[in-house]
């Protein structure tokens, strides 16, 4: 069972925080910080889990997710969506786009970790 996580996020500090938390738990973390080529990066890396921000430069997280879901290879890929927009309609958008899990920033480190473990193992 793989332990590869791809974090797609444009805020350097948040990338660093998530990387730290996951690395400490034994995950191997790759990062990417813009939306343009995110889909290609995911397809190349084929991680066990993608942590995806919504507000990305170039392309939104929703669009990226929809594209991933339309491809056979990435159709069932676990995707944890993180967004700083905490409204109900944002959660609905995420669910419709096909997110495996949706979390609102700011998040609790423990919760992110639990979610990652659950999504990959389970």
């Amino acid at each position: 069972m793989g332990k590869n996580v791809l974090v797609i996020e444009d805020e350097p500090n948040i990338i660093e925080a998530i990387s730290f938390i996951l690395s400490r738990d034994g995950w191997s973390v790759a990062t990417h910080s813009n939306g343009h080529d995110a889909v290609g990066v995911v397809q190349n890396a084929m991680p066990d889990l993608v942590i995806l921000d919504v507000m990305l430069p170039g392309k939104t997280g929703y669009d990226i997710l929809r594209e991933l879901r339309s491809e056979d290879a990435t159709q069932g890929l676990p995707v944890l969506m993180l967004t700083a927009k905490g409204q109900v309609k944002d959660r609905e958008m995420a669910e419709r786009a096909g997110a495996s899990r949706f979390m609102t920033k700011p998040f609790s480190n423990a919760e992110v970790l639990d979610a990652v473990r659950e999504l990959v193992t389970g």
Binding site: M55, A84, P106
Partner: protein
């Protein structure tokens, strides 16, 4: 005394008989069985009210005094009936098509519905008729007096007076009962007309009886009587041409203009064709009436003692010869002549007085908004009744005050000359379209003044109303104004003189005033209606229509009030009338109800005109059309108001929609803004929370890591603070509540400060700033801190976003259209065209986010520059990113 009592009894019975006749006629008419009531014979007989007591008694007296001249009184009307048949027909047609109720109504209608004219004609008619009514009362009382004195019972003057009063009251009562039973639109009174017709037969019969008695009973046969006539003075043909012509003209004119003649001839006319019969039958009637006048006069003069009043030979000759029954018949004949005249005259005058004087006054006393449009029938009827009483009473008063005595014929002629003044206006009105109201008014006034001055006043006798001196020397010594010798023309018969001058000047002034003035539009229209009556109106039909008309009415009603409503109404009416079908008879009652029903939808005048058009009893008059036009105008005004209102509503709705759209947009912008603020706040908070938890939960962190993570928390906290500051700043700027701190300072100083403030921290040295200090020596008068804030922002952005290897920023000061411009141009790749439009919007960060920033900077810059009266805009085509700050002229004025 016994015979006297019988006379009173016979009179009473006769009066009761008249009441019954009238009542029966009314009843028959009401039940629709009055076909025989509308025969030409009845019409012809009703015209005989021309022959009043004056003709009945007075003609004999006239013949006894002036020979054959009495014939003129019969010749005039006969000529009119035979020769002027077309004139009468036109009058009748106009009367019916315009629903004319009296001669005053006719004249006022013709001249533009002038009520002033109607009042004038009414007053003149009353003045002209009152002596005539008095004359009738006098004849009744005097004949009664003659009768009683023959039996040795001298009546006191008081008894005479009360007799006259009794007769007057009885006549008023009769007129009220049968003249105002109901308000018929067409003003027809079957009872009255019937009674008048019966009286016509009675008086003709009485006069014939007396004549036959005189010729064969007293004169000894036709040839004997003719011999007597030849022997007497009457037989000598003495004819004064001027007087004859005048009298024939006068009686003809009076026949047309007398209110009572107009009443029976035009108003009560049922069918235009009746005129055809009357045109020969009425002259025949007059001929028979006049047949025995001369024999009675001649035999009377022979028989009666010298000095006896020839006016009552018809009565006194039978009495003197002991023929009481014949005398009584003769009395009844005279009584009939008098009463029929008073009844019809009172009816005609009361219609005029009530319609043109009483009702207008009553209506004007009603406060506006009172139920004037409601049912005023009872008021009209009351006013009619009071008017009848007043007219008859006026005659009685005149009789009492004048004391009688003047020869009957002369009063009659004065009256004739008075009403003859209507003739020019009447004839002119129906034949000459150019006749105007002013002309009519002037003509009538002139005619009546001259008539009163030359005939009426002198008739009271010198020394009463006009002094002897005035008669012989003229007023104030002006001899050419002598009442009986105008312009010094003496030797003329007073009557001829008066008629000649009054009619001549009346006609002349009528024409001249008509030619000088211009008719009003209504007068023009009415004039055309009257003059061209035969072109406009079809042959009038009886008011009672046929079932075919009911179908037409049905079609019309359906269009106006809807098919179901109309059918219900018609069925209901048919049931009420007891008809088996679905269509009712078009009875006046039904038509009235239908008209009311339609009036609710289209207005009263329109409804009346529509029904009138279909039923045809009365064609549409100009007045109707005017009223229709008024209604239409009101409806159009109303509908245009509605239209304006609905347009206004549409406009309001549009404005509301726009406001709503704007609100929705603002609401969306607010949501979007809040969402962005939320995002911008949550992002640094996420870092802060994540690293705080890391610091808290991890005990294996190195010192370096601890310092690094603490620094991140610190920086993100600062970022949050900055964001909040920017938000508050923007909110203050946008609300317009910002206080500007105006100061003077040099542009160079501000730029120095801005560059120093913006280029701090790591990498500050990398940026090369190029300036030309010489151009910056300008003193500004503005809020220096705010301007500095804008400069710092722009320099900071250049530092943050310029992606050149050797970043360089040029700050250039210049002028554009008088305004001071400061350009900030870097050597980076610039901002893509698509994003140039949105960079000044809130939270619109461009491109790849390498640097922290809430995206509020440029929005704040724009707000500040707006407050300072200037602008900040993106300057395309400069290679790198370029911003231009524009300051208004006055800010930089101090620089010079």
């Amino acid at each position: 005394m016994g015979t006297l009592n019988i006379l009173v009894g016979v009179c009473l019975i006769y009066v009761v008989f008249l009441f019954l006749i009238a009542f029966a006629a009314e009843r028959a008419a009401l039940e629709g069985k009055g076909g025989w009531l509308r025969s030409p014979l009845i019409y012809t007989l009703s015209l005989s009210i021309y022959c009043t007591a004056w003709t009945f008694y007075g003609a004999v007296g006239y013949a006894a005094r002036s020979g054959l001249e009495y014939l003129t009184i019969y010749i005039g009307p006969s000529l009119v009936m035979i020769g002027w048949w077309w004139l009468l027909r036109k009058l009748v047609r106009i009367g019916r098509s315009q629903r004319i109720t009296s001669i005053a109504d006719l004249i006022s209608s013709r001249y533009g519905k002038s009520n002033l004219l109607a009042v004038g004609v009414t007053v003149l008619a009353v003045i002209g008729t009152t002596p005539y009514i008095a004359l009738q009362l006098q004849s009744v009382t005097v004949s009664f007096d003659v009768f009683s004195s023959a039996y040795g019972a001298e009546l006191t003057e008081a008894t005479q007076g009360s007799n006259a009063l009794l007769v007057a009251a009885g006549l008023a009562l009769f007129t009220i009962v049968f003249g105002t039973r109901n308000l018929d639109v067409n003003e027809r009174h079957h009872g009255v007309v019937m009674a008048v017709a019966v009286e016509a037969i009675v008086k003709l019969f009485a006069l014939l009886a007396v004549g036959i008695f005189v010729v064969w009973g007293l004169g000894g046969g036709v040839s004997e009587t003719l011999a007597r006539i030849d022997a007497s003075e009457i037989g000598q043909w003495q004819m004064r041409g001027d007087r004859w012509a005048t009298l024939i003209f006068l009686s003809g004119a009076a026949f047309l203009c007398l209110p009572r003649m107009f009443q029976v001839m035009v108003v009560e006319n049922e069918d235009e064709d009746h005129l055809r019969t009357a045109s020969w039958a009425f002259p025949a009637y007059l001929m028979i009436m006049s047949l025995f006048v001369v024999p009675i006069a001649v035999v009377g003069l022979d028989l009666m003692p010298a000095g006896s009043n020839p006016d009552f030979f018809v009565l006194t000759v039978p009495l003197a010869t002991g023929n009481d029954a014949l005398a009584m018949l003769s009395f009844i004949g005279g009584f009939s002549s008098a009463t029929s005249m008073v009844i019809v005259a009172a009816l005609a005058l009361s219609t005029m007085v009530s319609n043109h004087i009483v009702m207008p006054i009553w209506l004007s006393t009603q406060s506006v908004g009172a139920s004037v449009s409601g049912d005023v029938r009872h008021v009209v009827l009351l006013s009619r009744r009071i008017s009848i009483g007043a007219v008859v009473f006026l005659g009685y008063l005149y009789f009492r005050l004048s004391g009688g005595g003047t020869a009957l014929a002369s009063i009659g002629l004065i009256s004739f000359a008075g009403v003859a003044q209507f003739l020019p206006v009447l004839i002119g009105g129906i034949f000459w379209r150019g006749a105007t109201r002013t002309g009519a008014f002037v003509g009538l006034t002139v005619g009546f003044l001259i008539w009163a001055y030359t005939l009426l006043l002198p008739s009271f006798g010198a020394g009463t109303l006009v002094s002897e001196a005035m008669l012989t020397e003229g007023p104030m010594g002006l001899s050419w104004l002598r009442p009986q010798a105008f312009f010094g023309i003496t030797g003329m018969d007073p009557l001829v003189h008066a008629v000649f001058w009054s009619i001549l000047l009346n006609t002349m002034s009528f024409f001249v005033a008509s030619l000088v003035g211009f008719p009003s539009p209504l007068e023009r229209l009415q004039g055309a209606q009257f003059v061209n009556v035969f072109e406009h109106s079809s042959t009038p039909q009886s008011w009672a229509g046929s079932l075919a008309q009911t179908e037409d009415l049905m079609v019309m009603a359906q269009r106006i009030i809807g098919a179901r409503e109309a059918q219900n109404l018609f069925e209901r009416e048919a049931k009420r009338q007891g008809m088996s079908g679905l269509l009712p008879e078009p009875s006046p009652d039904f038509l009235q109800r239908l008209e009311r029903e339609l009036a609710g939808s289209v207005g009263a005048a329109t409804a009346h005109a529509m029904i009138g058009q279909i039923v045809g009893g009365a064609s549409v008059s100009v007045e109707d059309l005017m009223a229709v036009a008024d209604e239409t105008a009101q409806m159009m005004e109303y509908s245009s108001k509605l239209e304006a209102k609905s347009e206004e509503q549409a406009r309001t709705a549009r404005q509301l929609r726009q406001a709503n759209e704007k609100l929705t947009l603002i609401s969306e912008q607010k949501d979007s803004f809040l969402s962005q603020v939320s995002h911008e706040l949550r992002t640094p908070m996420t870092s802060i929370r994540a690293f705080s938890e890391i610091l808290r939960d991890s005990d294996r962190l190195s010192e370096d890591e601890k310092i690094k993570y603490s620094s991140i928390i610190h920086d993100e906290a600062l970022r949050l603070t900055r964001l909040l500051d920017d938000l508050l700043d923007l909110s203050v700027l946008e609300s317009g509540r910002v206080n500007l701190n105006m100061q003077s300072g040099s542009l160079k100083g501000i730029l120095d400060h801005a560059v120093a403030s913006a280029l701090t921290g790591a990498g500050a040295d990398k940026m090369q700033v190029v300036r030309n200090a010489a151009y910056e020596e300008i003193t500004l008068n503005t809020d220096l801190d705010r301007l500095s804030q804008v400069f710092i922002n722009l320099i900071g952005n250049a530092q943050k976003y310029c992606d050149a290897n050797a970043p360089k920023l040029r700050i250039e000061v210049g002028r554009s259209n008088g305004a001071l411009v400061v350009d900030f141009i870097d050597n980076g790749s610039g901002i893509p065209k698509t994003e140039q439009a949105v960079i000044f919007e809130k939270f619109s960060r461009t491109g790849e986010q390498k640097v922290k920033g809430a995206g509020l900077g440029l929005a704040i810059c724009r707000e500040i520059m707006t407050r300072l009266g200037g602008a900040v805009e993106y300057l395309p085509g400069q290679g790198g990113a370029a911003f231009r700050v524009t300051l208004p002229e006055e800010v930089a004025l101090a620089a010079q």
